[in-house]
């Protein structure tokens, strides 16, 4: 029976085939390589020929005090992004949705996506120029009388997390709002008409109709973003903007792995860090999903 169904949908299956093969080859097959976290990986002998070392690299990881800073910074930046940035694309989508002039709406939407396509390395360069002591931001703040002398943004460790959050917000708001805008288009217009007849104002319509309707989408994305907490901080920004002055706040887990793992050829150790990251992400996703189901009956799985 399934053969008949498969034959009927053969073109759809062929269409899906490249993605499935790509997923298998680049995401599932490499899982076999995770075993090097439990081995002393040697290039010559490869993944299968290297000697088993048990939990040696995991014990090294948990004994390494220099990782504490990296973990703190990763969680701090990711949580700040989650709390501060997660609602912004939703609000942006709601605002876009309220625009009646369609041409203007399209222009705003398109322009809002542009930052997403700028490479992080270019963004880091822009930030270093804008935030320099003789940069435009300091110039503006001085002229407005908000500061008396130029502020060394990139040298101030307490400012680094905010720089990461604001930059990411600017870069990702437009792109992340796409899915909410798509969800909003699915809201039946009759509901808004009925609400208008009942005397609801715009704010009440958003609160009572729009938001409940996109709630499943919001919950789904929130659960997915919980999983990104451990890897959510941007490697490129941290690597390119990190300097001796802000290093205590700029080193995150990916840059830590680069410095202590890959940069020294300690591939087994780097893999062990990656596995721990993935386990933590999975725990966060499953927990968030369970909590969501418990409180709201919505969940990813």
């Amino acid at each position: 029976m399934w053969r008949r169904a498969a034959w009927r949908q053969r073109y759809l299956l062929i269409l899906a085939l490249p993605a499935v093969v790509w997923l298998l080859v680049f995401h599932y097959v490499p899982i076999l390589g995770l075993q090097i976290a439990f081995k002393d990986f040697r290039f010559r002998t490869g993944i299968w020929g290297s000697q088993w070392s048990g939990l040696k690299h995991f014990l090294q990881l948990f004994r390494d005090i220099t990782i504490v800073n990296a973990v703190r910074n990763t969680f701090a930046i990711s949580l700040m992004k989650l709390v501060l940035l997660f609602p912004i694309p939703i609000a942006f989508a709601l605002l876009i949705n309220e625009i009646r002039f369609h041409r203007f709406k399209r222009v705003i939407q398109t322009v809002s996506y542009f930052p997403h396509f700028i490479a992080y390395s270019v963004v880091a360069l822009m930030i270093s120029i804008l935030l320099a002591k003789n940069g435009i931001v300091n110039d503006l703040l001085l002229r407005l009388g908000l500061i008396r002398e130029p502020y060394l943004f990139l040298g101030e460790k307490n400012a680094f997390w905010w720089i990461m959050v604001v930059t990411d917000g600017w870069k990702s708001t437009g792109w992340n709002s796409i899915i909410y805008i798509a969800a909003l288009t699915a809201v039946p217009l009759e509901l808004y008409e009925a609400a208008t007849i009942d005397g609801a104002n715009r704010y009440q319509k958003i609160l009572r109709i729009t938001l409940p309707y996109i709630k499943p989408t919001v919950v789904m994305l929130l659960i997915i973003n919980m999983g990104n907490i451990v890897r959510g901080a941007s490697f490129d920004m941290s690597y390119l903007l990190g300097n001796p002055l802000n290093m205590s706040h700029s080193e995150i887990l990916p840059t830590y792995v680069m410095r202590t793992g890959i940069g020294l050829g300690r591939f087994s150790y780097a893999t062990a860090v990656g596995i721990v990251q993935s386990i933590v992400s999975m725990i966060l996703v499953v927990s968030a999903n369970a909590l969501s189901r418990y409180f709201s009956d919505e969940g990813l799985f």
Binding site: L17, V25, F43, G46, S128, A132, L240, P244, R259, I262
Partner: protein, 569 residues
């Protein structure tokens, strides 16, 4: 039907593209096949006599993987007189492939993939996998089989120092100090990291004294009052606290600090950050910052981007530089005449006499402990590889790589040093040095090519006849030069060797400790007041201790005792 057929075709194409893999993201440069020239290879009066013989050689192109990004965009092997001469005598041209970053991921990917190996590999990093897993060949075995003349040019004690457990050497380090030859160098060895003044401004000020640190401060303040934005410039070595050219390592010398980053007392090795002189030197540099003479943006330099330092160097109109003035010259190339920035004698700290000062002799005490040039096991031209390395080790080639050709790039001037003479760059080269940009300059002169120098540059040749900017000392008499010579310390190879690691865990411990030092140094220099400086200093040592400073010093002490028994210092 047609639509479905084309849809299926498109999907199959996408599938094929997805599985086709990516080509390596490295830049590859083919050598230029220009005619060879015969550069002058005459020796100085006291140079060791190894010379290359010009004989018919089979031309061969070897592939070199250079484990660092391309420094000089557009330069290729064979485009300049020096590489043309090396090709003429050895028959070897290099096809150089550069890494895209300094993180070694391409090197490790290459090792892991087991394919696409070059004939030669240069890396300055500690990569034990290269020899532990037989990716690199034993140079002893190559020499025994193909070219025993290799042993005639191998530097003094190189075999003892760099041989591995099996007794063979696997790499030629690019930072080696051959003390037998250093003893013969005319004019003595030269300091590299010093205080440097803007000579043009200094003359305009009426040549105020710069004998003490306080006088240096006054001159910098005067320059600031005259309109200089950032009168005191710290070169990018400010970010390498263990480097001889680091600003605080230089400043500590003015307080008669220990010569070297690692100090030993009765066989116990510690880091010189714990010395009183280092702290006083750091406090002095911090006081310059508190006076508004140092720009904090100096420290937003990152490992891959020195634009902030370059901007400060170009916009800042420096009066005083604490560091290596070649870097300032590189940043400000073409902005002023040659000789505008010149080093001066180390200014004295309070209560210090000149005879107390010991300057770190960069050229003699540096030994280079990790990495170098390897011959890969997969090479199909092992003879050509060992012949090429032997050629590079010849004295005349070493001099040419460092200084160029005698009578073309430099002449020997006996005005100040009547016995040995002193190398002086020719007027034609000097003019181009000021006005030409790299790599155009490098193509014409083959001079000061950083890539070429990193291919096994023995330190004695850098000191040989002195470096060009040191020859521009018209106002310094021979008496003072004698004084200069007397304040040099002896080479400290043994201490340098203590950081010759045997595994990546030791390297990691070292990296963790020096990382805390790097962070702490920035906090010390940029402390807003004396109390904050004290806190920063104490905190730096505490943080270094937390990540393993004590264990590291214990390890270095064990190594010191080991090497002391072997090294002839």
């Amino acid at each position: 039907m047609k639509t479905r057929f084309f849809t299926s075709l498109v999907c199959l194409l996408v599938l094929l593209l997805a599985l086709s893999g990516c080509t390596p993201g490295v830049t590859t440069q083919q050598p230029t096949t220009t005619g060879t020239t015969s550069g002058t290879t005459t020796q100085g009066t006291t140079a060791a006599p190894t010379t290359t013989e010009t004989k018919p050689v089979e031309p061969v192109v070897l592939e070199l993987f250079y484990d660092s990004p391309e420094l000089y965009n557009g330069w290729k092997w064979g485009e300049d007189p020096v590489t043309q001469h090396i090709t003429a005598v050895s028959g070897v041209s290099l096809n150089i492939r550069y890494a895209a970053s300094r993180n070694h991921e391409e090197l490790y990917t290459m090792l892991a993939s087991g394919s696409d190996f070059p004939d030669l590999l240069y890396t300055s990093s500690f990569v034990p996998a290269l020899y532990e897993e037989q990716y690199a060949m034993s140079l002893n075995k190559l020499a025994d089989e193909y070219n025993p003349a290799f042993y005639d040019v191998l530097p003094y004690q190189y075999q003892e120092i760099h041989a591995l457990e099996d007794g063979d050497i696997y790499y030629l380090n690019n930072d080696y100090s051959d003390t037998k030859k250093m003893a013969d160098i005319p004019g003595g060895s030269r300091i590299v990291g010093v205080f440097v003044k803007n000579n043009i401004k200094w003359e305009a000020m009426g040549k105020p004294p710069l004998d003490t640190l306080e006088q240096v401060r006054e001159v910098a303040l005067q320059a600031k009052n005259d309109g200089a934005k950032y009168p005191v410039f710290l070169t990018s070595y400010a970010f390498s606290p263990i480097h001889d050219l680091n600003s605080l390592q230089i400043a500590k010398s003015s307080f008669a600090g220990p010569q070297f980053v690692y100090m030993q007392d009765n066989g116990v090795v510690t880091f010189n950050i714990k010395s009183d002189a280092y702290k006083k030197g750091a406090a002095y540099v911090n006081s310059l910052y508190q006076d508004g003479l140092i720009q904090a943006d100096n420290f937003t330099f990152t490992s891959g981007n020195d634009d902030s330092v370059r901007q400060i160097a170009q916009a800042g109109d420096p009066m005083i530089v604490i560091g290596h003035e070649w870097q300032l010259r590189m940043y400000r190339q073409g902005m002023e005449r040659e000789g505008a920035f010149m080093p001066f004698e180390p200014p004295l700290g309070e209560g210090i006499k000149r005879s107390d000062i010991v300057i770190n002799d960069f050229n003699m005490s540096n030994i280079g402990t990790t990495g170098g040039m390897f011959v890969m096991s997969s090479t199909e031209n092992p003879k050509a590889c060992i012949d090429f390395l032997t050629t590079l080790l010849q004295d005349d080639i070493q001099i040419m790589k460092a200084h160029g050709r005698e009578d073309v790039d430099f002449i020997v001037d006996y005005t100040h040093d009547k016995e040995h003479g002193r190398r002086v760059v020719t007027d034609a080269l000097k003019a181009d040095l000021t006005n030409m940009q790299n790599p155009e300059f490098m193509r014409k002169w083959g001079y000061y090519n950083g890539i070429l120098r990193s291919m096994i540059m023995l330190r004695w040749t850098i000191s040989y006849y002195n470096r060009p900017y040191h020859e521009a000392y018209p106002e310094i008499s021979d008496d003072i030069l004698t004084t200069f010579g007397s304040i040099y310390g002896k080479p400290f190879k043994t201490l340098n060797l203590t950081v010759k690691f045997t595994d990546s865990e030791e390297q990691l411990l070292y990296n963790n400790v020096t990382k805390e030092w790097k962070v702490g140094e920035a906090e010390m220099i940029l402390a807003p007041n004396d109390g904050a400086f004290e806190d920063a200093y104490t905190r730096t040592i505490a943080n270094m201790t937390k990540v393993g400073l004590t264990d590291l010093e214990k390890l270095l002490t064990e190594r010191y005792l080991y090497w002391s028994a072997i090294i002839d210092e």
